[in-house]
Symmetry: C2
Subunit: 353 residues, 2 copies
Amino acid sequence: MSDSASTLDRFSCPVPLAPKSQIVLGHGSGGKLSAELIRDVFLPAFANPVLGRLEDQATLEIGNSRIAFTTDSFVVNPLFFPGGDIGSLAVHGTVNDLAMGGAKPLFLSAAFILEEGLPAETLSRVVQSMSRAAHAAGVQIVTGDTKVVERGKGDGMFINTTGIGLVPGVLNLSAANARPGDCVILSGFIGDHGIAIMAQREGLEFEVTLESDSAALHTLVDAMIEVTPEIRCLRDPTRGGVSSSLNEIAAQSGVSIQVRESDIPIRDEVRGACEMLGLDPLYVANEGKLLAIVPPRHAAAVVDAMRRHPLGAGAGIIGTVSEGRAGLVTMKTAFGTTRIIDMLAGDQLPRIC
Amino acid sequence: MSDSASTLDRFSCPVPLAPKSQIVLGHGSGGKLSAELIRDVFLPAFANPVLGRLEDQATLEIGNSRIAFTTDSFVVNPLFFPGGDIGSLAVHGTVNDLAMGGAKPLFLSAAFILEEGLPAETLSRVVQSMSRAAHAAGVQIVTGDTKVVERGKGDGMFINTTGIGLVPGVLNLSAANARPGDCVILSGFIGDHGIAIMAQREGLEFEVTLESDSAALHTLVDAMIEVTPEIRCLRDPTRGGVSSSLNEIAAQSGVSIQVRESDIPIRDEVRGACEMLGLDPLYVANEGKLLAIVPPRHAAAVVDAMRRHPLGAGAGIIGTVSEGRAGLVTMKTAFGTTRIIDMLAGDQLPRIC
């Protein structure tokens, strides 16, 4: 426990990126190294109050409208995997970042960096998939860009999607809003996306093909907000997994979070693959799940509404927020012990999105 | 002439991308192959009226506001060059795409794809440069993303910037708006950016270091719009150069455009380098120049206003719009002959932005 505690201390006491250091895969993991890059390089340079809020999306006042604005580049490898591909993922990922701000997703941009030699048919398949995903999510892809790099200077295809949504006036969702006593809700099975990708890469076989959970979550969010606009915070636990999202919320809200292992749903295949690969499912990426922090008086009704939605069928309360030590996330294990759940350090699963 | 004419015909009579074909560098050139990719792959899949307008930015009605929205990925090689770097370029490029829609640039997203092993100091320098460029242009970088790919799967650093701006109600700028009789205005010397990059790559030396013209053009646009909101169209001739922008305007407006070689300003160093490298300056990228189509009664006043702005000191009228054949661009050469100026075919200068 002392190790984890000292890591937390290091995280809250900034040490700038060493000047001679190099970028490593972990800087793209969504965990501790990503957070350091944001804190040491991006925030000081781009200093402004909107970016400083560290949400998954910026909320901007333009004219009389509250606009949500978010960007993501996708470098997933392989390009096609059970349950999706880089194209559908690029649509879902950005739609979800808008939805986590409570925004109605409206418009996406799509920018492609293609490697010379990519089969045109591969591009066409991906673009068709983006089109279907955008149509299903009710968003329009309204502007785009294509660049091509020489063979060996890219990896088939990278896609950036940037999204715009409209935020209803009544909402105030923020990772800084969690309050002691609040309930932590999770929408369903964790780890499906990361393990589906990993299985594809490593040639693992399951009795039933494990599929990515990649999906657009905005209608699930609508159903939740219909119950109460007083939801404190929504996060989709993608890179860095559930653990990193909970750590971000705990740190930004200055609270402690406790979860119960027995209440976190994990498929047997995912659990088995994690054991075999030495991964912790709490750190594995999801692309169709959300975490919600909800005042206790609304929690049961929100869970009920989620369970009536196909993407929230496995929803449940997995823990609570308490005063405790700011930024500390702990888990009551199945054995009855308590362990600290730290942010992902390093990178256990590169290029998962 | 018959060759060029038949090429034009081919362009207006779509032949889908061959199913077994591969992506080549020319698909990222901003010329004919880029246009084919848009026409054959992106437009059919993402079909919607906004994208179908083929402007450098989408104009969206959100709430009571008219929002301009544009995306660009930057893969320039080398990352640092005389007059700028990938960071300043990424800010200027997206600010300019907003400005060409008459929008006041407000907010940018910044998404990085980093190659494992990139020195942290290189990232810091680029981010500082982005910060300075954004500050100078009066825009805020409000949301971002970082991905890391394995060594050999990228090339140091790629950056996507996506921008949001506010479009004043009085403006209606579009490449489809050029009318016979209109004047074609160019803001200054062409080819500086492309040749500065090329010289850096090839180790060419000039008596005076040739610098990229990379700059944010929105205040120049403000000065022009102050003269008259009746400007028909603005384009910044980046990839594909002046020739490709003029071809797009001529095609989308269903008009013909004639320019005069003697009125197009080209620095001696750029002309010399182009001769040495076998390049045509009309196809070389600019990152701080604009083309404007303006009704004749306002043209002189617009040019006067441009010349009073530091980024428009070399502005002048370089040609006219006529009924002629739709999509045809011709140039009266210094020798008194007339030649067809087609879109860029293939890719003479890869990874220029």
